[in-house]
């Protein structure tokens, strides 16, 4: 019998020790945050303006690293030497870790600067940082499985857009830690937001994958045999797998997040579901990706239609994340801009 193992097995196989690597990075993150906190502990005073906080500066440095990583990823489309890709991944890793360190530092700082500390995923500015960090890290985890570093050129621009939004919030004066209204002081809420943003990050990665798929598909459909899209972008099947994996991670965590949100509402308002706009839009996001899974696995849809669906899904996700706060009112007013 012939060897019928499908092509590209090693590319899809996880390299040994992937999780060891991420565990190492986690420990490094905690260690760096510990250092930052010790370094800053003495100079924090109540009511200190947030732009004097170390976390604000750390966020800025990390954002620079992420912007640089994006440029290098884009350059990697033309400069295909593996070293370029490694630099891109390295910068992105440093940026993602930097944001987590910044958030951990901010966590500590809220306890010193505000009257009551909180986990810094409580206002729009904080969760936007969290979103950029998680999108980067989820992408990097998937990259470490696929060992193809070209998708970064499609995912990282989303991160840069997130950074742009964050800067806009700063310019509007709606950044910086604020005291929490009583309803936000709940462990359910922390777990809910955490899971939610893993979901959002994963859906962002899937969207980047969708764009990459369409780019390559178009090049192939035009019969090109050379050019960036054909030479460097991963094959269509591989990209399809990347999208699916991101959506699978996202769907599971987003389901958990929605349930945790319901549990929080149950403890705070006396009903697990009240059709508040944010809740309703999470349901819509959830249904969008449930349809994706069904079309893919039951109807066997594949290819460009699924790529478009991943992009549409992220558009719906973005509306759930930002649009609801900007255009619709509801219980989740903590995210209100301005």
């Amino acid at each position: 019998m012939n060897d019928t193992i499908p092509a590209t097995p090693s590319r899809l196989a996880p390299p040994g020790g992937v999780w060891g690597y991420w565990l190492g990075l986690l420990i490094l993150t905690l260690g760096l945050a510990g250092l930052a906190i010790t370094a800053e502990a003495d100079r924090l005073i109540p009511g200190m303006p947030f732009d004097q906080l170390l976390s604000y500066k750390l966020t800025g440095y990390a954002n620079v690293l992420l912007a640089a990583a994006t440029l290098v990823y884009l350059a990697h489309l033309w400069f295909t030497a593996p070293a370029v890709g490694k630099w891109a991944s390295g910068l992105a890793t440093a940026g993602g870790v930097g944001l987590l360190v910044a958030l951990l530092t901010l966590w500590f700082e809220t306890h010193q600067v505000l009257e009551e500390g909180h986990v810094p995923i409580s206002n729009l500015y904080e969760v936007t940082i969290f979103f950029t960090a998680l999108t980067t890290l989820i992408y990097l985890i998937l990259e470490s499985y696929s060992r193809n570093r070209h998708a970064g050129a499609f995912v990282m621009p989303i991160v840069v857009a997130g950074i742009g939004f964050e800067l806009w919030l700063v310019s509007q004066g709606s950044a910086g830690p604020q005291n929490l209204v009583p309803a936000l002081k709940s462990y359910w809420m922390h777990a809910h937001v955490l899971a939610n943003f893993i979901g959002y990050g994963a859906f962002a990665v899937a969207c980047g994958g969708g764009v990459m798929y369409l780019v390559r598909h178009r090049a192939e459909a035009q019969g090109r045999t050379a050019g960036v899209a054909i030479r460097v972008l991963p094959g269509l099947d591989e990209t399809d797998t990347l999208m699916y994996r991101a959506i699978a991670i996202g769907f599971v965590t987003f389901t958990i997040a929605t349930i945790l949100g319901a549990a929080w509402a149950y403890d705070a308002w006396g009903g697990y579901w009240s059709w508040d706009p944010k809740e309703t839009w999470s349901l819509i996001v959830w249904i969008t990706y449930a349809i994706y899974l069904h079309l893919r696995f039951v109807k066997g849809w594949a290819g460009t239609r699924m790529a478009w669906w991943a992009i549409l899904g992220f558009a719906v996700t973005l509306f759930c994340f930002l649009g609801v706060n900007m255009f619709l009112s509801g219980l989740h007013s903590y995210g209100q801009i301005g």
């Binding site: 349930i259 006396g270 249904i287």
Partner: protein
């Protein structure tokens, strides 16, 4: 993915009869996707059209025609409307139909591996390799067991041994858990909406009640609990910014003069008793006692009247003049920064809002600050913002107020042009009329002159000064009975576990043919993976492990 299920599938159940056809239709993917899209779209409309507002609001925004059309279709209480319920019911039926239709097959596929299955016609991949294991099915089996395979069958094909190994037998159960979970969540929601309630109860301190107000569209219905709830104590703490940081109430449930249960509830930490839950939802003023004084600027001598009353009370003089005590605020945070664009928030203490109306002066809302009695703050109907000014002294200061009255009185007598000389003369006359020594003119003059300007600017009929209060708060409770929730939470757990199983657990079946003469192993696999990656890794790993197997000791 090519899955050779032919041998695992039970004989096809006849797809005839109206019920079978209905199940078939309901569970078909186009119908399922259509229903899911419909739910998504309908819910979207509900977030854009604000729900459950009063009629005027809609008419003002949509016009009467659209209001009538949309109201007839229940669009303003959409999530409770018959048609939304109908869509949800159809969705539940569709998922149930899918369970009925695919259930037996998946159940069948999850049965233990009891008999040998022949080499599959179509596989997901395979390879062959030379290995000493070719002569040792037992060792191969042990190796596979180490790799996580748990079920085995041995057979023979043309005299050669054949081994079938399988893992992930239960992965198909994920389908039941996920879709069953969705059905149960909806059923739980239905139970809650039919048998449960959710209403509000506002309880002043030290009072007991058992009535709950349940909103129904834009009206209310009252429910009575079989026991009473007493608010023993309401407590609220504020941030320096004046924003509430936490509020809580000590609640006691009692019946027939007997206390049943007592607990301090806070936001996010409710009290549960006999299926009824009491949530700390809001708070408000239950008629705090307030004391203030009024200076009537329309009467001669600006007479003062001291008033003791309660928030929410209305006072009338029988001649069209009306005072409503609107709101007591214990904290008022203001930006005290001198520079533009800077912020320096400070709490300026308690304030009281009093609504004044009279036929001659119209409506004016005054805000009086206890710690800043000389500050005037008021707004007339139609004003966007409050007007602030500084009287220079407390309206409760009788000497200054009476002098001011006398001064204005003297000024009104002045005929013709009014200049500094006339002002001075009027002031001196007022001092004399009041019996004040002229030596105090330098001290009192500027204050009175300023106050006269201020009053002329604003033409206020009254001045107030706020002297004391005794807060009396009510606690705003959300009271709910939610009989569906245990089912919902269990179903959520099933859903999550099932999702994990469906996405990350795969059924893997591997056939191995042993060719002793040529020392060859031939392997082929059938996997129910959704993702190509587990297929590839499984095969790759299998090959690596088989190739690395140690040589069989001779003699065996």
């Amino acid at each position: 993915m090519a899955i050779d299920d032919s041998r695992l599938t039970p004989p096809a159940t006849p797809q005839q009869g109206p019920l079978a056809r209905l199940i078939h239709l309901l569970s078909s993917m186009p119908v399922a996707v259509f229903l899911l899209c419909t739910v998504a779209l309908a819910s979207m409309i509900g977030t854009i059209l604000v729900q459950n507002r009063e009629e005027d609001f809609y008419i003002a925004n949509l016009g009467p025609t659209w209001y009538k059309i949309l109201d007839a279709l229940d669009f303003f209480n959409m999530y409770d409307s018959w048609w939304f319920l109908a869509i949800m019911t159809l969705l539940v039926l569709s998922v149930s139909a899918a369970l009925l239709r695919h259930g037996p097959r998946f159940w069948h596929m999850s049965r233990p591996l009891r008999v040998m299955r022949p080499w599959p016609k179509k596989s997901d991949g395979g390879f062959s390799l030379t290995s000493p294991l070719a002569s040792d099915p037992d060792a191969t089996k042990a190796l596979l067991r180490r790799l996580g395979f748990s079920e085995f069958q041995r057979g023979e094909e043309h005299g050669r041994p054949l081994l079938l190994a399988r893992q992930g037998r239960f992965s198909k159960y994920g389908f039941f858990l996920v879709h069953g979970g969705v059905v149960l969540i909806c059923v739980g929601g239905l139970i809650t909406s039919q048998l449960g309630f959710r209403g509000v109860m506002n309880l002043p301190e030290q009072e007991s009640d058992n009535r709950i107000y349940v909103s129904e569209g834009s009206s209310y219905r009252t429910l009575q609990l079989p026991f009473l709830v007493r608010n023993d104590d309401f407590d609220i703490s504020f941030y320096k910014s004046g924003m509430p940081s936490e509020y809580s109430s000590q609640l006691t449930l009692h019946r027939d003069g007997q206390d049943i249960l007592s607990k301090r509830i806070t936001v996010n930490d409710p009290l549960r008793y006999q299926g009824v839950t009491f949530y700390q939802a809001s708070f408000g003023d239950a008629g705090s006692a307030v004391e203030f004084a009024i200076r009537d600027l329309t009467s001669k001598g600006f007479p003062e009247q001291k008033i003791k009353s309660e928030v929410h009370k209305e006072l009338e003089d029988g001649m069209g003049l009306k005072l409503t005590i609107k709101e007591l605020r214990q904290h008022n945070v203001m930006n005290m920064a001198q520079e533009e664009g800077k912020s320096e928030l400070r709490d300026v203490g308690p304030s009281l809002d009093i609504h004044f109306s009279s036929p001659s002066s119209g409506n004016i809302t005054y805000r009086i600050y206890m710690s800043y009695p000389h500050m005037l703050a008021f707004g007339r109907t139609g004003d966007r913002e409050m007007t602030y000014d500084d009287l220079g002294f407390n309206p409760a200061d009788s000497v200054k107020m009476e002098l001011l009255a006398a001064y204005l009185d003297e000024l009104s007598k002045v005929e013709g042009e009014r200049g500094p000389d006339q002002n001075r003369a009027a002031f001196a006359a007022a001092m004399t009329a009041m019996g004040l020594p002229l030596s105090r003119a330098a001290e009192l003059g500027p204050a009175i002159a300023n106050a006269e300007q201020v009053l002329r600017r604003h033409k206020l009929p009254m001045l107030f000064s706020f002297s004391g209060f005794e807060p009396k708060m009510y606690t705003g409770l959300q009271v709910a009975r939610d009989p569906g929730s245990p089912l919902v939470w269990s179903a959520c757990a099933l859903l999550v576990i099932g999702l994990y199983m469906m996405i990350y657990m795969h059924e893997k079946r591997v056939w191995i043919r042993f060719d002793r003469e040529r020392q060859q192993l031939e392997v082929c696999a059938v996997l129910s993976g959704k993702d190509k990656h587990p297929v590839n890794t499984t095969l790759e790993r299998l090959r690596r492990e088989l190739a690395a197997a140690p040589p069989i000791p001779s003699g065996k």
